[in-house]
Amino acid sequence: MAYRKPGTIGESLARSGVSRRDFLEFCARLMVAAPAGLAIASHFGPEAVAKELAKARRPSVIWLHFQDCTGCTETLLRTSKPDIGTLLFDLISLDYHETVMAASGKQAEAALRDAMTENAGKYVCVVEGSIPTKDHGVYMKLAGRPALEVLQDVAGRAAAVIAIGSCASWGGVPSSGPNPTGAVGVDALLKDKAIVNIPGCPPNPYTFLGVVLQYATNGTLPALDAEKRPLFAFDRYIHDHCPRRAHFDAGRFTREFGDAGHRQGWCLYQMGCKGPITHAGCSTRHFNEIPDVWPIGIGAPCVGCTERTVAFKVPIFEKSEVPTPMPSALYPEIRPETGSVSPVATGIAGTVVGAVLGAAYVAAKRFSKVAGDEAVPGVPLPPSAPAAGKDKGSGSGGKGV
């Protein structure tokens, strides 16, 4: 593959002749793929996303393959509309990729060295496949060097590392028991690098593209969870967003492949679906841009391919334990709230009570303070009237106020 000088994405699109319509469609799918949590996708419409992306410089990407099946690459290339295979090279500058690059052998090695030197500290290193660690990592070698060494070398000088696929994230298929090669994921080896794990077997391409493009446009990585997975794609269980959830709640289960329930699309929980314990976004973002093309959608129970504790460990037909059997929110609480307070009534009542107390206070003041004073209360002393009787109390205290 010829080494291209990266310009902005917009320039690249103009040069390659990808139609604006196709690019907008891509932007729209990116927005669907990341409804929340991805900065570049949080716009009102694909046009705005497109505008922002067009200004970004095409990031330099170095893609490493280790113990992989190339499925993650395939997921990127097997999108149908727009033909992302073409679009891809306008969005990123794929400077090294063993499967799609034209070069091989010594030219490939040279390409890798050149890309690393030219973009040192700026390129994104994508790792596909797990890394064997047993026996000094002899089980996977690239140009004679063990994968361990390549990883430290290439990823060590990268700005960010993206581990795409379950194998790179936590070991994947090669790591399933008895793990004869000691296969581990990238984050087990690179301790102090910014790593984004995108597990899945394969993962959704838009997740990957979202992360890379965000990095390209504003140099940041999206928010990650405890397993370094982007939250915008991995923050929920499949079960919580599954289109077949209503069947689960109503107790309609497929009992056998091909039975009446299966034909009607009933819940696959009894068939061992791992949806309740698997974090992924497959239930909302399907594959190949064709609706309902994802495992549960076509009637196959989820195997939990993103989770290190589930995939290739828990038998496919073993029922998963629903972690939070919280009943639906449609049940009433023990103590519902009742009653309301009318502000008008409060006002009236308050005014009346205040008026009564005020009147009482005023009235009290009109009575005499003098002990034994029997005069008409509140009436001022007439100047001519004599002060009668033996006045024991205080002298005529003026008015009876």
């Binding site: 059997p325 919280m326 009943p327 449609l330 049940y331 009433p332 609480e333 519902p336 009742t338």
Partner: protein, 313 residues
């Protein structure tokens, strides 16, 4: 000449009779007081329900069936007309399933709420004209020909069960009556008939209590405090509860064993309160009154002579 004028004789005899009556009344009151403070027991054929919260799956079939059997329109208001979704007992809902959930610990339990059909109901004691009364089989029933709509039953009920039709011109008190209008036909209320897990069952109270105690004994430590709610609360209720979580969390109040009406009943009962006490008071007041009246009348006569004006009473 008569030795005693008729008036004087009447006075003395009246006074004597009055004192005797007062004395007798006090004695009666004493006896009545002792008798009226008795603890009421459930009738021998009392029926009830046993609800085991550990078996309830919250399917709400009992809620739907109750509405059907009792001819009540389902309460769809909280869901904007979509589902029957009562938030509490109300005039459309005689039976409701509520959920207790603690997000911190994840502890959850369902609870079925309806009239408890107490052995010594506060509402029955409160109702001025016995509109709410304990009928056959110990079921607490409401009679519309006697109710004046005072809502004292709502104030008195410790479980806050009776609901009043505030927005009807002819308002009724609505509460579970164990489907007594179909008990002959179906043999049990609607809710117990449709419960899929047997979480709520119907039967005679003594039998249900025995069953409940058996369950507690069979699984020690599972049921809260290893006891049955309603065995003694408020003097005992005919609807009994078993639960894993504390009863207060399910909205079942902590009540003493004493039925509240027992507190208002003691104090002499009818004879004491309305016969003995008034008679005693009346006789006492009258004695003092008449003495002061005599003084007053003398004063009135004197002032009238002095001033020439009729004195005021």
């Amino acid at each position: 000449m008569v030795l005693l004028s008729r008036r004087a004789l009447l006075r003395r005899v009246g006074g004597g009779v009055g004192t005797a009556v007062a004395g007798g009344a006090v004695a009666l009151a004493g006896a009545a007081g002792a008798e009226a403070a008795e603890v009421r027991q459930a009738p021998a054929d009392a029926v009830g329900m046993l609800y085991d919260a550990t078996k309830c799956i919250g399917c709400k079939a009992c809620v739907a069936e109750c509405s059907k059997v009792n001819g009540l329109a389902p309460d769809t208001a909280p869901s904007n007309g979509l589902w029957q979704m009562p938030v509490d007992l109300d005039v459309h809902t005689k039976n409701v399933i509520k959920l207790y959930a603690d997000p911190a610990t994840g502890e959850t339990s369902y609870v079925k709420r309806q009239c408890m059909h107490c052995v010594d109901p506060s509402c029955v004691s409160a109702c001025p004209f016995n509109a709410l009364h304990k009928g056959d089989l110990g079921i607490v029933e409401w009679d519309g020909t006697r109710c004046i709509g005072c809502r004292y039953c709502e104030v008195a009920c410790p479980f806050e069960i009776p609901k009043f039709e505030w927005n009807q011109f002819n308002p009724k008190i609505v509460k579970c009556e164990l489907c007594r209008h179909v008990l002959d036909r179906d043999g049990q209320p609607g809710c117990t008939r449709v419960c899929p897990t047997g979480a709520v069952i119907f039967g005679r109270r003594d039998g249900l209590l025995a069953e409940a105690k058996q369950r507690v004994a069979a699984r020690p430590g599972v049921y809260h405090e290893d006891r049955v709610y309603g065995e003694r609360e408020a003097g005992g209720t005919q609807v009994l509860y078993l639960s894993r979580v504390p009863f207060e969390k399910l909205g079942l109040p902590a009540l003493s064993d004493r039925a509240l009406p027992a507190g208002t009943r003691h104090g002499g009962g009818f004879l004491g309160k309305f016969v003995a006490l008034p008679i005693v008071l009346y006789v006492v007041f009258l004695r003092f009154f008449r003495r002061n009246w005599r003084v007053h009348e003398e004063e009135v006569a004197r002032l009238k002579a002095e001033r020439g004006l009729e004195e005021q009473l």
